[in-house]
């Protein structure tokens, strides 16, 4: 990144290290110059307020991460908030099932920008080994994910690595840029950054083929191809629902 601003007085023979990425050292002077964006990103990345959306085993490991032994406070992310209005990092820790999916979506929508999502554990990433009738096969069906953390559950070190990777992403400013363009670039912990991911707007609630979408969502390609078929199926489903849910 090109550093802008006036040249700084540095004692001859000394090379002062930068204070933070994009923030040059002042060489002992009591001021610094930088770009506003860089300063804001630096501050944001080091004061993440996580909201744990803990559902299952991963939530227990998340508790380990914030407790004294692993101490997430060292990474500036210890202010755990249970209100989405007060948080900027959503950590989805644990399996999300179909019944919980609308709740997760609502909580994500309630968070104010800027916001980031970490998907903790394989259930949140892909559904894990629950390839079953009631389990969301990855929370990226519902919310855009910035960092996927693998493991079942991930070790505390792995989650900390995920948070550090997110900090890097925030500092690079890459994330905000991509959200404007309705795309996002997730990173898998332990892998190279993956770039080929479909646009977020289309990925919301990628639902089971042949089933109707959420109200307000664009119809799926399959629904559009067979408009008559969809209506018939809906009537049939509605009848079955009436029978089984008195």
């Amino acid at each position: 990144m090109k550093i802008t601003g006036p040249s700084l007085p540095i004692a001859p023979g000394k090379i002062a290290p930068p204070i933070a990425p994009g923030v040059p050292s002042t060489g002992g002077a009591d001021f610094l110059t930088t770009k506003l964006d860089v300063a804001v990103q630096w501050a944001q990345s080091n004061s993440l307020w996580p909201m744990p959306f803990g559902t299952a085993c991963c939530a227990i490991e998340f508790m380990s991460v914030v407790s004294s032994h692993y101490d997430l406070a060292r990474f500036g992310a210890e202010v755990v908030r249970f209100s989405p209005r007060q948080a900027d990092l959503l950590i989805v820790a644990g399996t999300v099932v179909d019944k919980l999916a609308p709740v997760l979506k609502k909580i994500y929508d309630q968070m104010s920008e800027p916001k980031w999502v970490i998907s903790m554990g394989v259930c949140a990433c892909t559904g894990g080994f629950y390839r079953a009738y009631h389990v969301v096969q990855g929370v990226d069906e519902i919310v855009p994910v910035d960092v996927y953390v693998a493991g079942c559950p991930p070790t505390p070190e792995n989650l900390i690595l995920g948070i550090m990777m997110l900090q890097k992403k925030i500092q690079s400013g890459e994330l905000a840029r991509h959200r404007e363009a309705k795309t996002f670039v997730p990173i898998r912990v332990g892998e190279d950054p993956v770039t080929a991911i479909p646009a977020y707007s289309n990925a919301v609630m990628a639902h089971v083929p042949g089933r109707h979408a959420l109200p307000g969502m664009p119809p799926s390609a399959e629904d559009e191809a067979t408009p008559g078929g969809k209506r018939e199926m809906d009537a049939e489903i509605a009848a079955a629902r009436g029978r089984e849910n008195p």
């Binding site: 299952a56 004294s68 399996t95 179909d98 019944k99 609308p102 609502k106 909580i107 079953a132 009631h134």
Partner: protein
């Protein structure tokens, strides 16, 4: 002919019902079984509860099954398809019983037993939801674990395991239910409070809708299913050995106890006994898991009521036990350490001194927590006299484990039906009679101390020898044998590709989990996959009763009560 052992009341029952109840022969390790029909179920149930020679006062489980794919001699009669298995327990006689009803393929229906055992309520709702058995006269028969947008009954054999249904916000619990309660005319105004599922005190996935008059709860309805991960359907698609990782994630605060319970069920079905060292290690790690479970219960609950310091204290021993489990099994939390016929591998060389060190540290931390909490004025005010459950209520609602013992019933499977090494060690079962939150807290603290006592005694006489059975039909042979002997290679191949072949049969096997009786009802069809696996989750009746316990109390008391009932969503919803 003399009645079978444990069923001495049978002649009277047969006389009353005119031959519509029969005893059925089963495995020696299985619980005694009575078969009846839907028409006489209600009368039989009343007799079993009320007759002093039967006295089955605790309703434990309802294991429904779809028999349509069973082969050969096990296949159901023409026109029959479903089965309801009621598991009962008598605290007076220390005896289990299975009451079996066969049901037709078309419109399977039985009368509800909620008026005999109130605990049956949620179990019947679950059976309706997942198996489609209709319970005539049930007060509130609607879906429990799946959502309102769901179509079909997922545990039926013709339901595709991958078929999902989209859930929208309208499909969740209808909130007008809380508003439908009768309001006395002198009540000024009531409000509805939605509590959860994303509420810190519900720890993720429980939901309660409360009707409040000021801060007093006048009506409440709890809902679960927000973590229904289809354990039972998944286990039908995996071999017996592959189910172990799934059992870890039932009660994820004490995975080793689930491993032990599942392994014991399958071993009883197979008639295999693991070597004594394996049983001893299972007991030790199981008791450590119980300590961990109680610690996380107390830590999280004390955070909920505002005592954050205890959380840091209580989590330190957990970390140390995690390290031990990691050294044994390779995983901190989800250990998958049990195997049918033993353990995955032997424990590390420094196991005994390491355990002793952990015991010492854990005792200190428990004592720290006790110093802060036990005689704390705030804790007294919050815990004493709140969330009271009487002995009669606890039995009627199907409580087991620490919550039942806090209400004055000294029922502990480790003592009453000893398994593993529990018969050979000396320990006490703490019992309180108050039944309030403080009693539950004290019982949990004392149980941790007793667990450490059990571990110390077993460490003193930890036997040597192998930790894996030498019956290679059920457990993988050692690698050097596989590479050098033809027979071992064949066993290895068969086990990996076909799984453990469990003989056809049925079993209910129970162990004492951290929250109460953890039961596994298994039906085997002779293949390498469980035909039907039903878990009796200890939390399920506790959470079913929660809405009744909190009625009339304050919202803040409900938080304290919820924490001390220790509802673990993984085993509640499975």
């Amino acid at each position: 002919m003399a009645p079978p052992k444990g069923l001495e009341f049978l002649p009277v029952l047969e006389k009353n019902l005119g031959g519509r109840v029969t005893a059925r022969e089963g495995l020696a390790a299985d619980v005694p079984t009575l078969v009846t029909d839907a028409a006489s179920l209600h009368e039989t149930a009343r007799f079993l509860r009320d007759d002093p020679a039967a006295a089955y006062d605790l309703f434990l489980d309802l294991a429904s099954a779809d028999l349509s794919r069973l082969p050969g001699a096990q296949a159901p009669k023409t026109g029959e398809r479903f089965q309801a298995n009621y598991i009962l327990y008598s605290t007076k006689r220390n005896a289990h019983l299975r009451l079996k009803v066969n049901l037709p393929e078309k419109e399977p229906s039985v009368p509800t037993l909620t008026d005999v055992w109130p605990a049956a309520n949620w179990f019947e709702r679950e059976a309706w939801d997942l198996m489609g058995i209709d319970f005539k006269g049930h007060p509130n028969q609607k879906r429990l674990l799946t959502h309102g947008g769901f179509v079909g009954h997922a545990l039926r054999k013709d339901y595709d395991a991958k078929q999902r249904w989209l859930c929208t916000e309208e499909d969740l619990l209808q909130t007008e239910l809380a508003a439908q309660t009768d309001e006395p005319s002198d009540m000024f105004e009531t409000t509805t409070l939605n509590f959860g599922p994303s509420q810190p005190a519900t720890h993720g996935t429980l939901r309660i809708v409360m009707r409040l008059d000021g801060e007093t709860i006048v009506a409440a309805e709890s809902e679960c299913g927000y973590l229904h991960r289809c354990f039972e359907k998944m286990s039908e698609a995996h071999t017996y050995s592959q189910v172990f990782p799934y059992t870890d994630r039932l009660n994820y605060c004490s995975p080793m106890l689930n491993n032990n319970g599942y392994a014991r069920a399958i071993e009883s079905l197979l008639g295999v006994t693991p070597p004594p060292r394996a049983l001893a290690v299972r007991t030790i790690l199981g008791e450590f898991s119980r300590v961990m479970d109680h610690l996380v219960c107390l830590a999280a609950n004390l955070v909920d009521i505002g005592g954050l310091t205890n959380f840091w204290y209580a989590y330190q021993p957990r970390e140390e036990i995690y390290s031990l489990l990691e050294a044994c099994s390779g995983a901190r939390l989800t250990v998958s350490y049990g195997r049918i016929g033993g353990l995955a591998k032997d424990v590390p060389g420094n196991f005994v001194p390491w355990c002793r060190e952990i015991i010492k540290g854990t005792r200190e931390r428990i004592s720290d927590v006790e110093t802060l909490v036990t005689r704390n004025k705030i804790v007294w005010n919050r815990f004493r006299g709140t969330g009271v459950v009487t002995k009669e209520q606890a039995l009627a609602w199907g409580f087991t484990g620490p919550c039942l013992r806090a209400s004055g019933v000294p029922f502990d499977l480790r003592k009453d039906q000893p398994y593993e090494w529990y018969g050979e060690v000396d320990f006490d079962v703490p019992v309180m009679t108050e039944g309030d939150n403080y009693a539950r807290y004290l019982v949990r603290v004392e149980e941790m101390k007793q667990s450490l006592r059990i571990i110390e005694q077993i460490l003193d006489k930890l036997p040597g020898g192998p930790v894996r059975s030498d019956d290679y039909r059920v457990i993988l042979p050692p690698k050097e044998m596989v590479y050098n002997e033809m027979e071992a290679l064949i066993y290895h191949f068969k086990l990996v590709f076909e799984g453990v072949k469990v003989p056809p049969g049925e079993i209910y096997s129970a162990t004492e989990g951290a929250n109460g009786e953890l039961g596994f009802s298994v039906i085997s069809d002779g293949s390498g996959f469980p035909y039907r696996l039903k878990v009796r989750p200890p939390c399920f009746p506790l959470f079913a009763a929660f809405e009744k316990i909190i009625k009339g109390g304050m919202v803040s008391d409900a938080v304290a009560t919820l924490g001390l009932l220790n509802i673990i969503a993984g085993e509640l919803d499975r």
